[in-house]
Subunit: 234 residues, 2 copies
């Protein structure tokens, strides 16, 4: 089972066995995911096709077509404010539910300052959970960064931030718009996001969404969000 990064591409980026990467994708692959020239990743068209690709700078070389049966057709990145407890369970459940990448962030109300050993631990949990749930690929767990850095790290037009209070549309409604091949979903810490964080997220192109009328814990919200998004494959 491979631990490879995944990006969604548009079909017109594909020419023969080359993928022409957008500036955003180049930034994401080399700056956020820290891939080097020659490193491999997965390119997906969002409607079921996956390719093993090799980074060559502004383009990528397709090495082979992959057969996947247990992976989602969409690439989901979960940006999650580190909760005080229970993050192991978030990693485990969201891996089972098909997440592609987990990006822990430190928000204003985050209490935890994780040690570097934590990242290794989370990666091990993700790897075990991917195996147990019979996935073809292991999700990527990124190093924790500040919420502000997280806001500008990801290249997708479909960015949602979950907020328990306020009169926002339900995530399920927002998922009904078609053509979402990559989704970034952010969930908050105990006590929720600050008003300023929500404002900054909106500025960065995020749509605030609700997960229902009850207040969910910081560790429940990501699992609920992932359940709803992964059911989009149906």
């Amino acid at each position: 089972m491979a631990q490879l990064q995944r990006i969604a591409i548009a079909l017109d980026q594909l020419q023969q066995n080359q993928i022409w990467l957008t500036a955003q994708q180049q930034h994401y692959l080399s700056r956020v995911l820290r891939l080097q020239k020659g490193d491999r990743f997965i390119a997906m068209d969002g409607i079921g096709k996956w390719w093993l690709a090799q980074l060559e700078g502004k383009e990528a070389q397709i090495l082979e077509t992959l057969t996947v049966e247990t992976e989602l057709p969409i690439s989901i990145t979960l940006m999650v404010a580190l909760p005080k407890n229970g993050f192991d369970e978030v990693v485990r459940c969201c891996t089972e539910l098909g997440v592609a990448c987990i990006a822990p962030v430190m928000s204003d109300r985050t209490l935890l300052n994780p040690s570097p050993q934590k990242l290794e631990r989370w990666q091990r949990i993700a790897s075990e959970a991917a195996e147990q749930s019979e996935r073809s690929f292991v999700p990527t767990i990124l190093e924790p960064v500040s919420f502000e850095a997280g806001l500008s790290s990801f290249a997708t037009n479909h960015k949602y931030i979950c907020e328990g209070r306020g009169n926002y549309p339900h995530l399920k409604k927002c998922l009904q718009q078609t053509g979402q091949t990559t989704i970034l979903i952010a969930t908050g810490p105990e006590g929720g996001w600050t008003e300023k964080e929500i404002d900054n997220a909106i500025q960065a192109g995020f749509q605030p969404v609700s997960l229902g009328r009850r207040i969910l814990r910081a560790v429940t919200a990501p699992i609920v969000a992932l359940s709803l998004i992964s059911a989009c494959e149906v």
Copy 2:
């Protein structure tokens, strides 16, 4: 916050301030939930109206109309094969997600034989989680019974059993049929249901359903199922 049992009624059961109970409802209230004459419960019409009612035998007296804002319009009973570990978390998350009743069952592959103290513990967790999530009502946790006994205990036409293997329709698809005011959903133990259990469930009117193409753990499946059902309120 009240810890009252809930049943869904059809509007034609209502006459002035009386509810005429069906034989199934009488059985459920007095045999399964063990309510006595004079005990109170909640009657709901499944489209947002709730009444406080008092059991009088074959009928019930309406005492008052209730205002609810954080409760689901549907009454969900989760029938869950007791997992070896993590049941506390199932109770907590499913309470946050709006479950009305949790019915733990002992299946062929259930390893745990819970002590009577466990039930009190689960009820305390449900009560705390209902408060934290700002629900109006605390879910009922029933005493564990055998899977066979569980199969015949509940009065609803919408009964689903989740199964990780096999080519069953996705729960999300089944939820698209309208008019579901009460839902019974069953999730299995580590290792899944036995073939015989699935057959017996089908005989008892259950529809086997899938929760997606990945294999979920026994503690993840109920949370995913509840996430999908509770999103029906949207």
